[in-house]
Symmetry: C2
Subunit: 477 residues, 2 copies
């Protein structure tokens, strides 16, 4: 599609924003030319990555959650029930006002998130202690009328791939444990994308509207900004009171349930392509690559048996469950390399007449560019272990990249100096004023309190007061 | 969920409409209590069926289509480009008019179908002959402001599971061949759901707005009405002209492309549960059953080894890829049978102390109720072949049911007499007036011209003129 625009090289990744936009087109992830601001089209190749990413999510959740689906449209009266929630979303909600030429009696909101669609049903479904815990999730499109600058996969008016889980528990503590479990699931999910994340508890003024508290996971992007790629909210019994979700406890009393919700979106894909990609294009972790191995037959004049040998290797790899593609087109090998490197295929397998004579093939790793000659007798195992190595190596490299960019800072000058590179870690006295002053003074706010916080004592660099809490400070998307 | 409402028995299937509504709740397919007319909630069990059904569809399409995703919201100016298309949909379109409190500059339609969202992009993507054929599909929610009586899975305001394919071809003939291919794919899809369908070409006044012609597949419901469960449209170059989709042909000329589109919705699930279900509840074809085998340990006082034996059988079946569930709860066996019969589980496996002594287990088929004792040594093969038998037997029974309810009719009285039971087949002179008169006179219209039509000669029973075409006449959903 649109071949001529794709021939030019990518801009350097150092110009991250330009590189990212260009990669979306050349890597065939998303087309940004849809005629409505903030709405984008998935190219089939990008959608294939999405399928693999969400299959990983499903496998993780299906252990003890169930998938379901609720309507997109929420009647105004239900949507308006929870006061905090409305305040958080009212500027961002798309409203359906007409069916055909007829004005609707009750306006319908396009869900920005589904609490107010789901919880009226939970009221009907939950009767007794035996119905708890209830853990459901759905993967759906949601809508936010973003007035800020929109950006594909990152800040969207239609989030096409919102995975939202909604759980109900007997006690506040059970719900708190589920929030921790959600963060563990997300960390595992991102590990499978080779994306390390930092988990932190958001400051009170940045929690989900209507929640007791919010814990979020952030990835660190190449430009030093953090990207919030997962959130888990403890809803206490706030929504239960609004939507009258009660259960009969052991004493026969009707008591309010406690709830959580947690979500991940296609930002997961923004993070993985941004963190792993390079100046040649996508670099995909094998778990999500639509094509894990591309076979390039090297065919000269006398190429007897090469195609057959390639097909045999392809069949063997496929039998092992590896996603393989053979590119036997007429293009020059160089053009093929360029194309499949752009698409991030983890392993390229070249096989020509000389290799065949040696009963061998050449493997080239997309991530490091390293080449390795392997025997056709052991090629399936060699490819499998190379795929494993690629995953591990991408993950290690990404961990090194994020951990080396978290800077312990003692003064605001320190913070100012380090923020362009990544995340600052400072003491915080716990006062909102200091958090907001930080935003005013240096244009970057408190991200949150690390969930792995250890005991410590120091001074808040904003007000100088004693502090026993450290926080991440970052520029965010 | 809502256990107390589910204890009462189902109404007899002879009261189809009542039975259907009750089955949706008791079989845990859909909850109809969502507070907006025409919008429903998938129970997790129903959604699990949906996953299996759409996995079958994906496997069929992925052979030579690619999955993708386009935005839900279509700007008014694009939506209004194709005159026929607008006429067909303008009364049914939901309009988004506000983002937050701000009126939008351009109204946005919720897609009723995606031609007008997709084709502006096809214009950008298609340049030359080498880009053709292009075959994409998406599985998305679509919206119709239905003013008729809504019904879960059948007539919805949010179709949550619309699989729509959109293909582009060089010539009209290529597109026509693709329409035939679509009908073959759908017939195969429905065969895997054990649902036989009839394919027929819709009369001109019933084709898709903007199409050259439409071929559709229909299932026959227990009440004798047909349910349109798949449509394939030849769009000619009508949309290509509207959206300026051209390609460079071999002579270097820019010429208009030819297009098709074809769709299937959750009506597929309405058909399969309606056709196979009985007075005890769901009867699910093994291919789509969330649980294919339920194991009931029969535990008396001395039940040594029974649970262990059940677990061993469960592990063996799971290793074979069979979806198994063990119900070792405290309920009486009778209550368990009732519950899993309602859920349509194809095979029940009972194993008690006496069975264990005989190295055997009892298999019970959901579809026929037949029981069969099998040896634990051969149980995996026995269960596998029973699952295959159940599929075949459901399909044969459904074929017998539909074919025995297609009635060759010579007169309108004949038609009137047979229509309550199923489909009438009559000669048709080809005049629209006769088609419409049929609707006026007997309240049932021409469904379409069978695609397997053979040469024949007769008289149109409406006007008496010579006719060489037969048509299906039916009451439809």
């Amino acid at each position: 599609m649109a071949e001529q625009e794709k021939d030019a090289a990518l801009p350097s990744k150092e110009n991250f924003s330009e590189w990212y936009n260009d990669l979306l087109l050349k890597g065939e992830i998303m087309d940004v030319r849809y005629p409505v601001k903030g709405l984008y089209v998935w190219f089939p190749f990008g959608f294939n990555i999405r399928r693999n990413v969400y299959d990983i999510m499903r496998r993780l959740l299906d252990k003890d959650h169930q998938e379901t689906m609720f309507p997109l449209l929420i009647p105004e009266n239900e949507f308006m029930k929870e006061a905090e929630h409305i305040k958080g979303f009212e500027d961002e909600v798309y409203w359906v006002t007409h069916g055909g030429l007829t004005p609707l009696d009750v306006k319908l909101a396009l869900r920005p998130t589904s609490e107010t669609a789901i919880y009226p049903m939970y009221k009907l479904w939950i009767r007794s202690h035996a119905d708890l815990p209830l853990k459901l999730y759905q993967i759906v499109n949601t809508f936010r009328y973003e007035t800020k600058h929109t950006r594909p996969l990152i800040r969207l008016r239609e989030i096409t791939s919102f995975k939202e889980a909604h759980t109900v528990h007997a006690t506040w503590d059970d719900a708190a444990a589920q929030v921790d479990e959600a963060i563990r699931i997300y960390t595992d999910f991102y590990r499978q994308l080779a994306v390390p994340v930092l988990a932190s508890k958001r400051p009170d003024w940045d929690k989900f509207p209507g929640a007791d508290y919010t814990i979020a996971t952030d990835a660190l992007m190449p430009d030093g900004k953090t990207l919030q790629v997962g959130t888990a909210h403890h809803l206490g019994d706030n929504f239960a009171k609004t939507f009258d979700i009660t259960y009969e406890d052991a004493e026969g009393e009707q008591v309010y349930a406690h709830q959580t919700c947690y979500g991940v979106s296609e930002r997961s894909i923004a993070a993985l392509i941004s963190i792993h990609g390079d100046d040649k294009g996508l670099v995909l972790p094998p778990a999500v690559a639509p094509v894990q191995v591309v076979i390039i037959p090297i065919i000269f004049k006398k190429a007897e048996g090469v195609l057959e040998a390639c097909e045999e290797v392809m069949n063997k790899l496929e039998a092992k469950g590896i996603r393989v593609k053979m590119d036997a087109s007429d293009e020059r090998p160089g053009a093929k390399y360029y194309k499949w490197e752009m698409k991030g295929v983890p392993v390229r397998l070249e096989l020509g007449p000389r290799d065949l004579k040696n009963n061998a093939a050449m493997l080239a790793r997309r991530d490091t560019g390293e080449k390795q000659q392997v025997s056709l007798d052991t090629i399936v195992d060699d490819v499998s272990s190379m795929l494993d190595d690629i995953h591990d190596s991408l993950y290690e490299k990404a961990k090194e990249s994020i951990y080396s960019r978290v800077f312990d800072c003692e003064s605001l000058d320190d913070v100012r100096e380090n923020l362009p590179k990544g995340i600052a870690k400072i003491f915080w006295c716990g006062n909102k004023e200091c958090g907001l002053k930080l935003e005013d003074d240096i244009g970057a706010g408190i991200l949150g309190i690390p969930t792995d916080q250890e005991e410590c004592k120091g001074k808040c660099p904003v007000c100088g007061a004693d502090a026993d809490t450290k926080v991440y400070v970052a520029r965010t998307y």
